[in-house]
């Protein structure tokens, strides 16, 4: 989740009310943020990715003023017409096809505001932009450039400019290979032979999205007019990011102007930003049934206004205007949640559901609960291992030729690369890890293994196994056999042993467990070579039964 460090004084100033760190923590939590740290001067919060508009002091203050009742409803955000045009040439189609821009003037940006914008921009890159791949933003000092602008795909070595954080001119190629920011984001342009570049009418480079801006237009405290470019692959996300930035700048005191984007190749013209609020009709009955309380239309209107939306009653329905920065409203159900948050979750009294139901356990749960006491009574302590497993242990160490049936593509840890197919290797690992503890050691596990099964849509089947192992200086076949026979008797299984060699048992000291003609398990004395592989220097005998195959459930 994106994080935000809130300065208590600054936020109080923006909200227009003296707030304590504790109050800020409580208010942000009531808006759905998770409070990470509270100090005397700062409150650290994380916000959910559906609300990228929470990303800085100014935009958060807007929300707090609403729930504090200082300012209700939404202001009318608008962008005036302007003659600023951006020409998107066909050469960008294959590289980074979408662009949206805006001009915001009459600002007075101090250090705090610029810091805010940088934090907001970075979080938008992450949340809406998927690390700049889908959306990338450039903020420019407008006084340094002259429209109209050109958005063009340029050969990687065909242009030179000074990027941010550098003092010399570089080609896009050089930036991608040498500049720290260039190297970090070069993956986005991998395989492309053109660099998306934004130029002004004099041929000055503004930006090389999604990599870096030119140092020419760097924002410095005192900047008054800002030109914003947002480029990307998804028009909706690009416009959302632009709207969030522009509305925040308007809240900082700026006046927004639209730009005309001309997609030359597509013969398409759009004006950005489009700050028109979206209009919704909300039925108060829908709100009441979903939340479970009689929320009248008036209550819903009040709550939505506290959430900074414009709302009014019309013929029993609530007409809602959602401001352009609220990118999370997809369905009227999202407005229902805003009503609930606006009313305050703490004010909603939990009630027990009136829906009756007949509780029941799965048959497998009931049967496993009967097997466990049997294992305890025979002296076995229960262990629980992960189903994530390591094939080297499960196969090589066990002297089993072959490969796991289910392999993981992308494990971050080398501890696992597959799903277990047997429980016994896990038990041997447990015993090896317990070599400092007193003997005899007897352990068992009841758990699932995964089996490849191409008849199922998900291509894999769960099977429940029981495995147990005894480990001490005189652990033997006969000890395990007597326990196994007691299990047969208790579970009323008409099973028998049949001589069979397994690579992980001492030859002549292993046996298959047969139910009819079906092999449902095996038992035996573990081969010393296997024990050595596990680093277990104590005789061990073990058994594993496939309970699913044994027809227990």
């Amino acid at each position: 989740m994106p994080a935000l460090t809130l300065n208590v004084n600054r936020l109080s100033r923006l909200v227009g009310k003296e707030l304590t760190p504790g109050e800020i923590a409580e208010l942000t939590a009531s808006l759905g943020m998770s409070v990470e740290e509270v100090s005397d001067t700062e409150v650290k919060v994380e916000y959910n990715p559906n609300r990228p508009d929470f990303g800085c002091h100014v935009s958060l203050a807007r929300a707090l003023r609403g729930i504090l009742g200082i300012e209700l409803g939404s202001r009318r955000y608008s962008a005036r017409g302007s003659s600023v045009a951006v020409e998107a040439e066909p050469s960008v189609e294959a590289v980074r096809p979408i662009i949206a821009c805006a001009l915001v003037r009459s600002l007075t940006l101090g250090e705090e505001e610029i810091a805010d914008l940088i934090v907001l921009q970075e979080d938008l890159h992450w949340v809406l932009g998927r690390d700049r791949r889908k959306v990338a933003i450039g903020l420019h000092d407008y006084t340094r450039v002259r429209p109209p602008f050109i958005y063009r795909g340029v050969g990687l070595s065909d242009i030179r400019f000074i990027p941010l954080g550098s003092y010399e001119e570089m080609t896009p190629q050089e930036i991608l290979e040498e500049h720290p920011t260039g190297k970090k984001y070069s993956w986005i342009l991998k395989g492309k032979n053109l660099a998306p570049i934004i130029l002004d009418s004099r041929g000055n480079v503004l930006s090389f999205p999604p990599i870096i801006n030119a140092s020419l237009t760097e924002l410095r405290p005192g900047a008054k007019d800002i030109f914003i470019d947002v480029t990307g692959t998804d028009e909706k996300a690009v416009n959302q990011a632009l709207n969030i930035l522009v509305t925040t700048l308007i809240d900082m005191g700026g006046v927004a102007y639209q730009t005309l984007i001309r997609y030359v190749g597509r013969r398409r013209k759009v004006y950005t930003p489009d700050l028109t609020p979206s209009k919704w009709v909300l039925d108060p009955k829908y709100v009441s049934t979903l939340i479970g309380l009689d929320a009248s239309g008036a209550t819903a209107v009040k709550a939505l206004k506290r959430m900074r939306m414009n709302a009014r009653l019309f013929r029993g329905k609530v007409l809602v205007e959602v401001p352009p920065y609220r990118v999370d409203i997809l369905h009227q159900v999202d407005l229902v949640e805003d009503v609930a948050i606006g009313m305050g979750y703490h004010g909603l009294e939990p009630v027990l559901p009136a829906t009756a139901g007949l509780g029941a356990l799965l048959e497998s749960s009931r049967i496993l609960a009967l097997i466990r006491p049997l294992m305890l009574a025979m002296g076995y302590t229960e262990v629980v291992n992960t189903t994530l497993s390591h094939s080297e242990r499960d196969f090589k160490w066990m002297l089993i030729p072959g490969e796991p049936g289910i392999r993981i593509l992308n494990p971050v840890s080398t501890l696992y690369d597959s799903m277990r197919e047997m429980l016994l290797p896990g038990l041997l690992s447990n015993l090896a890890a317990n070599s400092m503890n007193p003997y005899p050691q007897r352990i068992f596990e009841l758990g699932d293994v995964m089996v490849r099964d191409d008849t199922l849509p998900e291509r894999a089947r769960r099977e429940t196994h029981l495995a147990f192992a005894t480990c001490h200086s005189t652990a033997s076949f006969s000890e395990i056999k007597s326990h196994l026979e007691e299990i047969f008797r208790t579970m009323e299984l008409d099973a028998r042993l049949s001589s069979k060699d397994y690579p992980f048992f001492i030859p002549g000291r292993g046996a298959a467990v047969l139910l009819g003609e079906v092999e449902v398990g095996f038992m035996g004395e573990v081969h010393p070579a296997v024990l050595e592989n596990f680093g277990l220097y104590m005789p061990t005998a073990g058994c594993e039964l496939n309970l699913s195959l044994a027809g227990l459930f």
Partner: protein
């Protein structure tokens, strides 16, 4: 410990016999007492200690004896013979004469043994040593056919420890052996004498009366009725006994059973679903867009073998909802949905994959089901995060179901676990609206702990499955709750299976935390 119950003077049968002996014969050494009573010296020493503790007898040191046992070399000599003996045997077998090299080539002597053998054989006058042509030659002078005193000493010691003072004529040989390094071990032991005290002289006679006491009640004593004439020896109830470590169930099992019983009590039916799951059920059916960060490789385990499965027919409906809302009244995510991406196989990242499957395949209404099962996140494991863990998941489907009832289920659940203070915060999941995060207050820690999420499934989730009723859904972390209830900090502890830890846990601990919260 003895000494407890000093009010009532009790004598062990052996104490009584020892005391009677020294009362009638006067002070005796421990050895004599042992010999007279036919018990070992250790038992006498023990009785003497008890009697001294009760003020009835007084042990005192009278003299010192030397106990001789075999040392490391001595043990080797007992096995292979003294080096000097082996040297003359070798010479004899080689015709009475041999060079040093010839003897060495036999390989019969280790380390210093040959030198030691030469020294003693020469000293005993058995051999002579000559040097000729730069070679050392040995000549057998006198072959000792009888056993030497030294050999006799070794033979006696082979049977066990001996007092030096008891050796008589062969004592000098023993002392000679004792001077050879490592052959013998000699311990000084004090000889003790036990004398009765004045208090013993004035003991009431019935205490000293030797009665037959029994230690163990036997079936024979019971069937013959013989127990009636016996006296049962009183035990030292404070004496330590052998510890028994009873086998245990794993604490996660106890917690899972506890939670299952609570949901069954609340009228929910248990269900279970696949661990290897189609991305479709894990993500797409839950309205998680295909470029959602949670679907990235560093969060989710994808499979390489097998890598793809078969999404159900209704997947097309879901794809349309992702694209433009598909008539659900939603705007959708506005992107081209791919069935390929939905066919990928993952290790399910949440048990919601199972509840949504169940919802799609089950038309029973109302529906109340839950599952407690494993889920996977592609993370590096540390004290807070596991790559495989459990979730407690459930849904309630009913025409009249609502958000406050969802809150009620969760509150009731935690209160039955002993966590009475629950709070709900707004939250976000792509598949629920309204959504909430659940925090519980933990008195012991004095803080709120985040334990799970909940919400009502979005119409974008339910409509393509043909579900019209509200679906209340929640998913809670099991391991976090387990750590709280067990008061453990490191999540890895739960899967380490350290027997010392497992056997130390009381199954009642859960019940106790349940009561105290």
């Amino acid at each position: 410990m003895s000494g407890h119950g000093a009010e009532e003077l009790e004598l062990h049968p052996l104490e009584r016999r020892v005391l009677n002996l020294i009362l009638s014969e006067g002070p005796l050494s421990f050895d004599e007492i042992a010999a007279r009573l036919g018990v070992n010296v250790g038992a006498v020493a023990k009785s003497a200690e008890w009697l001294a503790g009760k003020g009835l007898a007084e042990p005192s040191k009278s003299s010192v004896i030397h106990v001789v046992t075999l040392g490391e070399e001595g043990l080797a000599y007992v096995e292979r013979g003294l080096p000097e003996r082996r040297l003359v045997e070798a010479l004899k077998s080689m015709g009475g004469e041999a060079s040093l090299k010839q003897i060495e080539s036999l390989g019969a002597f280790r380390g210093d043994e040959l030198n030691i053998g030469i020294i003693w054989a020469k000293r005993n006058g058995w051999i002579s040593v000559l040097k000729s042509d730069g070679e050392v030659m040995f000549h057998l002078e006198k072959y000792p056919s009888a056993k030497t005193d030294e050999e006799l000493v070794l033979e006696i010691l082979k049977r066990g420890a001996v007092n030096l003072e008891d050796l008589g004529p062969i004592r000098p040989a023993c002392e000679r052996l004792g001077r050879r390094p490592g052959v013998l071990r000699m311990n000084e032991v004090a000889r003790h004498v036990l004398s009765p005290t004045k208090k013993a002289l004035s003991l009431p006679p019935q205490l000293l009366e030797e009665r037959e006491e029994v230690t163990q009640l036997t079936p024979e004593l019971l069937s013959s009725g013989g127990w009636r004439s016996k006296i049962f020896r009183k035990y030292d109830i404070y004496a330590p006994v052998k510890p028994v470590l009873a086998p245990r169930l794993h604490p996660l099992t106890h917690i899972i059973e506890l939670i299952k019983s609570i949901f069954v009590e609340l009228g929910f039916e248990e269900i279970r679903g696949p661990l290897v799951e189609l991305a479709f059920w894990n993500f797409d059916a839950l309205f998680q867009p295909q470029d959602h960060p949670a679907r990235e490789m560093h969060d989710t385990f994808y499979l390489s073998t097998p890598s793809k499965g078969q999404p159900p027919e209704l997947a097309a409906n879901v794809g349309r909802v992702h694209y433009d809302g598909g008539g659900t009244g939603s705007k959708g995510w506005g992107y081209e949905w791919s069935i390929e991406e939905a066919s990928r196989l993952v290790l399910r990242t949440h048990t919601t994959a199972t509840t949504i499957r169940h919802l799609a395949q089950n038309s029973k209404r109302p529906l109340k089901v839950f599952t407690i099962d494993r889920v996977y996140r592609n993370e590096r494991v540390d004290w807070r995060r596991l790559a495989e863990f459990h979730q407690v998941e459930g849904i309630l489907v009913d025409k009249r179901a609502n958000f406050r009832e969802l809150m009620g289920i969760i509150k009731e659940f935690y209160s039955r676990i002993g966590l009475k203070k629950v709070r709900f915060r707004p939250s976000y999941f792509p598949y629920t609206e309204p959504s909430a995060e659940v925090d519980v207050y933990v008195e012991r820690r004095g803080s709120w702990v985040e334990l799970g999420g909940m919400g009502i499934f979005r119409p974008e989730v339910t409509a393509p499955l043909g579900v019209k009723e509200p679906v209340l859904a929640w998913g809670l972390g099991l391991e976090r709750l387990a750590l709280l209830l067990l008061d453990v900090n490191d999540a890895r502890t739960l899967y380490q299976n350290d027997l010392r830890w497992l056997l130390s846990l009381s199954p009642l601990r859960l019940e106790k935390t349940r009561v105290s919260g």
